[in-house]
């Protein structure tokens, strides 16, 4: 990877031209996709009208309502949640040093889901209460996983395996909760469990925006250290990084990102897993590339939601189903390419 640097006085910023160009292209693609998503749906809103409504000119009565209270929150939630998942996935994948280590595999998603299901089935709160419970669930689970994996420091494999154990336990609990409820509540909870962008409101957008505003700066500030951590604890320590403290800080950031994403759209499968893979391949980087991962995450989630909308226009299929199925396909593709490389 060729890297260049910009120097201004005593500051210097190192960047890779390829990562920069790729991120710019991904950003452009995301803008186009967002625009497309705003125009299509139960009925089409022409591009010109979308632009004029965005600039403040009110559209016709019904169109205005659909645009600002149905479509906009949904599209914005998709984009923001995708970014959160993508960045969180990249961090966790780098921390766990494993291409399959993602927040959902490590049980944060399951923990968030347990919190939310309890809220839906037992306490019966509204969407904000559900989001809050999910956040609490994610943090409680992450704390538990980290505490279990901690023995004079956290080693990646212990983190991964402790996460998988707890995730399996939570999955059983979640399913038990589903069978002890009546069918309507259970269906509502199960849709939430799969992750859905239906009926998103501005509340969901707010949760995701706040999380992105608070946590993404930390994530980007720590990204250089994350890259150094990949060299191993000894090497990174000699380069001035305190491995344990940095890892804990990154872990907290990743859990916060995941928790907020799950709180606003449910534990959508595989976005956090697939986005960093695709981003790293596009950027051609060995290590984490947070910006590209976030953009790819947004494109994936928005694309999956659009696909669900277009393929099943009548049924309200949750986006999590599409990302789950696509994730499975993607795994098979990764497998295929690696297989070819290994046999070569």
């Amino acid at each position: 990877m060729t890297a260049r640097s910009v120097r201004v006085a005593s500051f210097s910023l190192r960047y890779s031209p390829r990562a920069f160009i790729t991120s710019t292209l991904l950003g452009a693609l995301l803008v186009v996709l967002t625009g497309y998503a705003l125009t299509v749906g139960k009925f089409t809103i022409p591009v010109g009208q979308v632009l004029s409504m965005l600039t403040g000119t009110p559209g016709p009565q019904g169109v205005d309502y659909v645009f600002w209270t149905v479509r906009m929150p949904r599209v914005l939630t998709a984009v923001l949640v995708g970014v959160l998942f993508g960045v969180a996935g990249d961090i966790v994948q780098s921390l766990s040093r494993n291409p399959l280590g993602s927040p959902d595999v490590l049980g944060f998603g399951g923990g968030a889901a347990t919190g939310a299901i309890l809220q839906i089935l037992v306490l019966g709160g509204g969407s904000v209460a559900i989001a809050f419970s999910a956040l609490v669930g994610a943090f409680a689970t992450a704390f538990l996983v980290y505490a279990i994996a901690y023995r004079r420091g956290v080693v990646s494999y212990r983190l991964v395996l402790a996460g998988i154990g707890i995730a399996a336990l939570l999955a059983a609990v979640n399913r038990y909760l589903l069978i002890s409820a009546d069918v309507t509540d259970a269906y509502r909870a199960a849709v939430w469990l799969t992750g859905s962008l239906l009926d998103r409101t501005w509340n969901h957008v707010t949760i995701a925006t706040v999380a992105a505003g608070v946590l993404l700066p930390f994530a980007f500030a720590l990204s250089t250290r994350l890259r150094l951590l990949e060299m191993g604890d000894d090497t990174s320590a000699s380069l001035g990084v305190t491995p344990e403290r940095t890892r804990t800080a990154l872990f907290v950031v990743a859990v916060g990102l995941t928790g907020a994403a799950v709180a606003s759209a449910g534990p959508i499968a595989f976005v956090a897993l697939a986005a960093p893979h695709i981003a790293r391949r596009l950027v051609n980087a060995a290590g984490p590339s947070l910006a590209a991962s976030g953009l790819v995450g947004a494109i994936l989630l928005l694309g999956a939601d659009l696909a669900c909308q277009q393929v099943f226009p009548t049924g309200d299929l949750p986006a999590g189903v599409a990302t789950g199925a696509l994730g499975g396909l993607y795994l098979a593709v990764v497998l295929g390419t690696r297989w070819r490389k290994a046999s070569r």
């Binding site: 402790a162 154990g165 269906y187 189903v321 199925a325 499975g328 795994l331």
Partner: protein
């Protein structure tokens, strides 16, 4: 060893009788033993024959199958944290059953068990391919991660299918939580031939698996056909865990825990480890089932929920205990 195995079977017998006694309506020992052999349709006889006998027998069969499957998988993958639940085999079987029931309208065990085998075979192959490509140093973790990821993809697909059909969803949410409490023994009867075939195959594989534990080269020098042994082991795992999942729904952690408990008695000799794992698996399932009946003040916890609640901490304990992954 033979004596110890008899002791284990004795313990299984005691737990089995315990499974007839414990529940919402306790039955005392003398009465239970009397009505087992003389069904006089008294209240106790109805409880024992119509409720507790079927679930005890199915529990034993499923436990034997899962314990053996777990032991075979741990030996095959040389991975002490392998389990048909964790490595996605049960998820594949469950998905197969779902496709059979919802997609093709197959309602009978004898019909959908084949779909369970197919699903289990495909997911196992996928997990194995994803989990074994790459440098061998991180292999155990990779295999477990691959199993989890494939399992998650299958669950997502399954949910995609059931969300389109609320009636299917209502059946699915119960079926996906594995349970041995079935109304009668018809499913168990259909499950039995597959179980017997799997057990016989597994027990025959003891000696060659012992030789393979020394490594492929040394194993083949000792006269074992490496590829054939691997494939036969895989088939035995599919038969056992696929059929068990089709019969009772997915149950995790039994296949993980049983071989570890058995190993404390037998050491690493597969010829003894396999039968012990089978018996211990049955004991574990029965104990979990009994516990599930009494742990809540009213109602029951299903056996798969109990095995997860007890088994997940066990898994975590195994992970923490080891200094490095073998």
């Amino acid at each position: 060893m033979v004596f110890l195995l008899l002791v284990a079977v004795g313990v299984l017998g005691i737990v089995g009788v315990g499974s007839l006694l414990v529940g919402a309506q306790p039955v005392n020992v003398g009465e239970a033993l009397r009505v087992v052999f003389a069904d006089d349709r008294s209240d106790a006889a109805v409880i024992v024959h119509d409720l507790r006998m079927p679930r005890t027998v199915l529990g034993i069969c499923v436990g034997v199958a899962l314990g053996l499957a777990g032991a075979l998988m741990q030996s095959l993958t040389r991975n002490s944290i392998a389990d048909p639940g964790i490595l996605g085999v049960n998820a594949g079987a469950a998905f197969g059953v779902l496709v059979a029931v919802v997609g093709f309208g197959v309602g009978q065990f004898s019909g959908y068990v084949w779909f369970a085998f197919l699903g289990a075979a495909l997911s196992t192959a996928l997990v194995y391919l994803i989990g074994t490509v790459g440098p061998p140093t991180t292999a155990p973790v990779r295999l477990v991660l691959a199993g989890t990821a494939v399992g998650a993809a299958l669950v997502a697909c399954a949910e995609g299918i059931v969300f389109l059909d609320p009636k299917a969803f209502d059946e699915y949410r119960f079926w996906i939580v594995g349970d041995v409490a079935k109304p009668d023994l018809s499913v168990t009867g259909q499950f039995l031939p597959f179980l017997v075939a799997g057990v016989v195959l597994a027990l025959l594989l003891g000696p060659p698996l012992n030789a393979l534990a020394l490594g492929d080269d040394l194993g083949s020098a000792l006269g074992v056909r490496v590829a054939r042994t691997r494939i036969l082991t895989g088939i035995a795992v599919l038969l056992l865990s696929g059929a068990a999942t089709a019969a009772a729904g997915p149950i995790a952690f039994v296949g993980l825990a049983a071989p570890h408990l058995a190993r404390t008695v037998t050491g690493t000799d597969q010829r003894w480890l396999l039968p012990f794992s089978a018996v211990v698996g049955a004991i574990v399932v029965l104990l979990a089932d009994i516990l599930g009946r009494v742990v809540l003040p009213s109602g029951e916890l299903r056996v798969s929920v109990m095995t997860a609640i007890v088994g997940a901490p066990f898994f975590v304990f195994l992970v923490r205990r080891k200094r490095a992954v073998a």
